[in-house]
Every structure is written in structure tokens, then in C-alpha cells.
């Protein structure tokens, strides 16, 4: 399975923020400048998460997407936040998002998710499932009400006809905590042949190596810690021959200002 690194940008009232444990936030900067930087770093994919939209039922943040696409980035872009209908999804795709991610819509009206998958194709849909450990049991977590709501049953994700391409599991407790992602969450899904994206507390290379060695994990997503250093992904993700085939421009000394 192809492995990749997704750069996450969490947005709160139009500012990119560090999110720690889904409740504490620190300001980082302008989302469009961070997206432009991820593109310049040539990350594999960019995921924008606007966390106010669903809470305030405002629908997708089209102005935010417009600010980002106006930078004319050539990196795959995925949007999450406030999507309520297939109309929203199609409009996002037209406005420059390549894929969309959903959480509460899967729970409240799965049939709307079916229509979305029909119009933009299930490969463009990611299901997001925040998880939390309580008394050694893993629960699904409702980030709107900030409480766990049901015990995790991995088989439940595959019983219904499939209307998403990848499942992003989020370790709520360890989000924003360096190198703390709870890898037991992955093994829960080992028999479900889903394609997993892991997010929340991933920041160092040994951790990434272990997680990506799981056959069902197709991607790791990193948010906060990508802002701590310059080109951090170069030390987190080992260079594969795919990177060489992508003609990334890194790793050679240029002749001077005119080549910068």
C-alpha cells in the first residue's frame, strides 16, 4: 500500500492554531501561508480542518479555501469542516479541494454521505473518527459534545456499503503531545482491511517507521509539530525511491540568490 505524510492545518476563527487534546489552542499563523509552505516543502498532501463550522452550523469555509487556492498550490488538498450536503461537497471540489473529510455527518446522516460519495466519488471522501481510551476501553469521541459516545466496534465501519476511501483515526488524548500516538488503536482495525490515516501525537521518525510498517496504514498525518522546525518531514520520513522519482529539488547546494 502506498505510504504518505499528510500536513494538517487546524483552523479556528480563520487563524491556524495548534490544537492540544481537542480543547487547548495556541495561535500559529495564516492558514494560506502555512499551506503555501507545505506546498513548497512538497509534502504528499495537505488537510485543512476548520473546527468552528460544524459547531456553528455555518457550512464549509469557502473564503478560507479561496485564500488557499489563490496561492495556486500543486499539492493535493483535502478540506474538513461544516460539510452538510453533496452540494457543499461538489462546490468544494470545484473550488479547488481534491478530497473532503467528514466526521459527524457519518453519524447523523450516513445516507447524505452516500450521495456525496456518488457525486464526487468515494476516493475523494475520508472518514474521520476521534478515539479516546477510558478505563482501558477504546471509545469513539464526539468532539462537539467533548465526550465519548460509544465503544469502538471496528467491524461497524465495514458493515455498511463503503462510502469512503480512508479512515483517519485521531488519538484525542495525545493530540499535540510529542511522540505519544497510541499505536494500539491501529491493531483494533487489523482485520478490517481499511486504509488507515493515523493522526494525533505523531512527531518522530522511529514512531513513524513503526506506524507505517502496519500494512493497513496508508498515511500518517502531522499538524502541530510541523511548525516547530524547518523541513521537519525530511527527518521524520525516510527518503524512498518514490521521492527520487518526484524530482523533489532538495539536497543539493545551489549557486546563489538567483537559484533561490
Amino acid at each position: 500500500m502506498l505510504k504518505r505524510l499528510v500536513g494538517v492545518i487546524t483552523v479556528k476563527n480563520n487563524w491556524a492554531v495548534q490544537s492540544i487534546g481537542y480543547k487547548k489552542y495556541l495561535p500559529i499563523g495564516r492558514p494560506e501561508i502555512i499551506a503555501e509552505n507545505y506546498d513548497r516543502w512538497q509534502l504528499d498532501e495537505i488537510l485543512i480542518i476548520d473546527i468552528d463550522r460544524s459547531k456553528l452550523n455555518l457550512g464549509p469555509n469557502y473564503e478560507l479555501l479561496e485564500k488557499i487556492t489563490s496561492k495556486r498550490l500543486m499539492t493535493p488538498l483535502c478540506y474538513m469542516g461544516g460539510i452538510r450536503s453533496s452540494h457543499d461537497a461538489l462546490k468544494l471540489i470545484n473550488r479547488g479541494a481534491d478530497r473532503i473529510a467528514l466526521d459527524s455527518l457519518f453519524r447523523h446522516n450516513p445516507d447524505i454521505v452516500d450521495t456525496i460519495a456518488d457525486t464526487i466519488g468515494l476516493q475523494a471522501v475520508i472518514k474521520v473518527q476521534p478515539l479516546i481510551v477510558k478505563e482501558k476501553e477504546i471509545f469513539c469521541y464526539d468532539y462537539l459534545k467533548q465526550t465519548p459516545f460509544e465503544k469502538l466496534d471496528p467491524m461497524k465501519f465495514v458493515k455498511r456499503n463503503k462510502n469512503f476511501s480512508e479512515l483517519m483515526i485521531v488519538d484525542v488524548e495525545n493530540e499535540g503531545v510529542l511522540g505519544a500516538f497510541n499505536e494500539n488503536l491501529i491493531s483494533m482495525f487489523s482485520k478490517s482491511n481499511l486504509q488507515l490515516i493515523c493522526f494525533g501525537g505523531i512527531s518522530n521518525s522511529s514512531q513513524v517507521k513503526r506506524i507505517l510498517s502496519n500494512p493497513i496504514v496508508s498515511a500518517i498525518a502531522i499538524g502541530n509539530s510541523l511548525s516547530y522546525r524547518e523541513i521537519p518531514h525530511k527527518s521524520i520520513l525516510p527518503q524512498t525511491e518514490v521521492d527520487l522519482a518526484r524530482q523533489t529539488s532538495f539536497g543539493k547546494i545551489t549557486r546563489g540568490a538567483k537559484d533561490w
Partner: protein, 423 residues
């Protein structure tokens, strides 16, 4: 709707972006608490371990230290040279808005720490062109200073293959708690474009309607990531490893190394920007027009958090200093070659409707200050002393200094004071 922090004076309009928790305390104040909770001796050991990788026995510089004629340059160099015992190459970008005090501090700093020093002087004709564009498009006369200051060290690091750059404070952490100190946030190109340059780096200065060409902006271009990766350039901030308290640090530097400040008109803090005619005047007024607050608010919030000023008193201090007229506007006009009335016109175009009402054409009123005008403002801060800053030494010059001597010894040589009987 604007929220204001309950502990300091910052509002949700802060230029760097700010977040409030459920008790309406801003992220800056929350992260500031770490200054009294972290174990700073173990932080210092982390720093020593980090820099030890870069301290070489070879005849090479161990690191690069960017400085200016004021801000935290003295204390940063004190830590790097005297305490960490490293051999730095010290770099500065010539802002051209230099005051006599700034030039004197630069000279004194080179001597006090006995450091090899290099300064970048970009063609001033081009610098004025860039200043006109940044004033016109962004209401900011200071773009070239910040752009140059933050890129020249990185360019030099890449060209001279000196991987480690040591900066003083991380402004994002100190003002709005952008990162925890424990995140050990490092220098990034994104932070520079996003916050130092408010979203506009050198590429955004060259457009179909501008008279600047690509070639003109080469001095401000950030090195390519391939260079940075190949040489392993990284910039660290001492404020992540040391309990950063600029006011007490400045007092220490005045005492030990003769750092000098200057009385400024729009702020009580005479140390931070004593080296620049423009930062606390033209630039400060424009910051007030665009963001609704001036540098004095940043400094008051800092001192509130350190407990030297009460929040209530802070309101009076800000109200008083924000209303003071800027000085040396004529010097800036002469330098740029513009008339002061015309400058004021182009500055007014950047008044932000959120904070300013244009009650009549070209007559502006600040929404905030109607209520404060009547009562007497208690803005004096007797308990905060600022030794070693005389305003007179600040005004001896009638134009910006490009390069200055910095020390007045030997005074009489070269002037025609030696028995010049040739007439």
C-alpha cells in the same frame, strides 16, 4: 465582536493572531506562566547539549548571531560569548534609520564582546524604492528592515556553511504564546513570511504594476530548502532556554557593558528600539492606524505579565503614549524624498475602519479614545528606572546615519582643531 484578555491588554485583533481560553485569558499570558513554572536550569542544560554539537575546534565560526544596535543584542551576545563560550560571526543588516545611540551601541557591542562582525548595506537607492512600495501597498515603512534582518544571517549561514544561527527572543512565543517553550520552536521560512513580513516576502513585491524587478529583490530572497537541508542550517531562540525578561536583562547590560537607551516619545521603554528613528515613530503610528494598537501596548502587556505594572495602570500608560506625536518625521521625509503632507496622506489610506472613524474627509478619530480624554492619566512608572538614556544624545544628528564611528575618541583628530595655521 472583540474580546480582550482579562490579565493583559491584548485583544482578538492582535496582528500575530491570538487565542483566548474559557476564562478569557490570552494564549500569551498562559504561555508566560511557564516562565515561573519551568525548571530553567534543566532548560539551560538542554541548550548546552544542543550547542555543544556545533562548537568546533576547527578554524571556523561556531555559530552566527544576528544583532542590531538595540533590542536584545547585548544580552544574546553575552550568553553566546561569555556564558556558552562560543566563537560567533556576528551579523547585522543596515536599516539606515540609525540613531547616534544605535551606532554607539553597535560599536560598544563589538568591543565589549570582541566579536568578528559583518554588516550588509543594500543599495540605499533600491531600499528607498522598496520602502515606497511597502508604504504604498502595506502601510509599512519597515519591510526592508525586517526582511533584511531575518534573511541576511540565513544567506550567510548557507554561503559560509555555518549551520547554527542563535537568535534572542521568539517574538511569537513572547507576545502571543505561539508555542510552549518546551516545543523548542526553531527558525522557519514560514514564520518569517507569516509574521515578520505579515504575509509578503520578496516574491510578492514584484508585480506587473510595480517598478521593482526580480533582480532588485535578490538581497531579500530566502535561501532554497535544498541549501538549508544540505548544510543543515537551523536557527534556535535563546528565549526557549532562558527565562527571558528584557527589562531586567537591559539593566544588567547597561551596568556591565554600557548599553545605552534613548527617551522615546511614544513609549516608556527606552531600551528596546533606541537604535532606530523610524520604528517608534513613523512605523509605530502606522501600526496604530492599521492594527489599532502601538508598540507601547506590547511593552505594557509584557510588564503586566512580569508584575511590574498593574492592568489598570497599563490602560492609562497606553492611552497617554498612543496619543503622543511621533518625532523625526522630517528626517524620514528627507531620507525618502517626500513632503510630510504627502506622506501623511498616503499613511491615512491605511487607517483600519475597525478602529478609526473618518468623521470628515481626511479627519480621523480613534473609536477607542473618546471616553479616556477627560480624566488625568496616571502614566508615570517611578518604579521602572531607565538609566543611561539621555534624549540629547539622540537628537544630535540632522539625518539618518549610514555608517558611524560610534565612539568619540580621539575627538580632536582629523577635525581642523589641530593648530591649523594654514589659512
Amino acid at each position: 465582536m472583540v474580546t480582550q484578555c482579562r490579565r493583559c491588554l491584548y485583544t482578538s485583533d492582535h496582528a500575530l493572531g491570538i487565542v483566548f481560553n474559557e476564562h478569557q485569558i490570552c494564549s500569551g499570558c498562559i504561555i508566560h506562566e511557564e516562565k515561573d513554572t519551568l525548571d530553567w536550569s534543566s532548560r539551560w542544560q538542554d541548550l548546552q547539549k544542543l550547542v555543544s554539537e556545533y562548537r568546533t575546534a576547527e578554524t571556523k565560526y561556531d555559530c552566527i548571531v544576528p544583532i542590531s544596535g538595540a533590542k536584545d543584542s547585548f544580552y544574546t551576545l553575552h550568553l553566546v560569548v561569555n556564558v556558552l563560550k562560543m566563537k560567533p560571526l556576528v551579523l547585522a543588516y543596515n536599516k539606515y534609520f540609525n540613531t547616534p545611540v544605535g551606532i554607539a551601541n553597535l560599536a560598544r557591542l563589538r568591543i565589549a564582546f570582541d566579536v568578528d562582525f559583518q554588516q550588509k548595506n543594500v543599495d540605499p537607492i533600491l531600499v528607498k524604492e522598496i520602502t515606497r512600495k511597502s508604504l504604498y501597498a502595506h502601510g509599512n515603512p519597515y519591510w526592508h528592515c525586517i526582511a533584511g534582518e531575518t534573511v541576511f544571517p540565513v544567506q550567510t549561514a548557507v554561503m559560509m556553511k555555518i549551520p547554527l544561527i542563535i537568535w534572542g527572543p521568539h517574538q511569537g512565543v513572547e507576545q502571543v504564546g505561539m508555542f510552549s517553550h518546551l516545543h523548542n520552536a526553531e527558525m522557519t521560512r514560514r514564520y518569517r513570511k507569516d509574521h515578520d513580513l505579515f504575509g509578503y516576502d520578496s516574491d510578492n513585491f514584484v508585480g506587473p504594476f510595480d517598478n521593482l524587478k526580480d533582480e532588485d529583490m535578490l538581497n531579500y530572497r530566502y535561501p532554497a530548502f535544498s541549501d538549508i537541508q544540505e548544510i543543515g542550517v537551523r536557527g534556535i531562540y535563546l528565549s526557549n532556554y532562558v527565562r527571558w525578561d528584557p527589562y531586567s536583562q537591559h539593566l544588567e547590560m547597561v551596568g556591565n557593558f554600557g548599553f545605552r537607551g534613548a527617551l522615546l516619545s511614544r513609549t516608556f521603554d527606552s531600551y528596546d528600539h533606541a537604535d532606530c528613528y523610524v520604528y517608534s515613530n513613523v512605523h509605530d503610528v502606522l501600526k496604530f492606524y492599521k492594527h489599532g494598537y502601538s508598540k507601547v501596548t506590547d511593552q505594557v502587556c509584557r510588564e503586566i505579565r512580569f508584575g511590574r505594572i498593574s492592568r489598570l495602570k497599563g490602560l492609562d500608560i497606553v492611552a497617554y503614549y498612543e496619543a503622543q506625536q511621533p518625532k523625526y518625521m522630517d528626517l524620514f521625509c528627507n531620507w525618502l524624498g517626500v513632503d510630510s503632507q504627502s506622506l501623511q496622506f498616503s499613511m491615512n489610506r491605511h487607517r483600519n475602519g475597525k478602529f478609526w472613524d473618518e468623521i470628515e474627509p481626511d479627519i480621523w478619530v480613534n473609536k477607542k479614545d473618546q471616553a479616556i480624554k477627560e480624566r488625568e492619566l496616571d502614566y508615570r512608572i517611578p518604579e521602572m528606572k531607565y538609566p543611561n538614556c539621555k534624549s540629547k544624545s539622540y537628537e544630535t544628528n540632522e539625518k539618518f546615519i549610514t555608517i558611524g564611528k560610534g565612539v568619540n575618541w580621539p575627538l580632536q583628530l582629523n577635525k581642523n582643531t589641530i593648530n591649523n595655521d594654514w589659512l
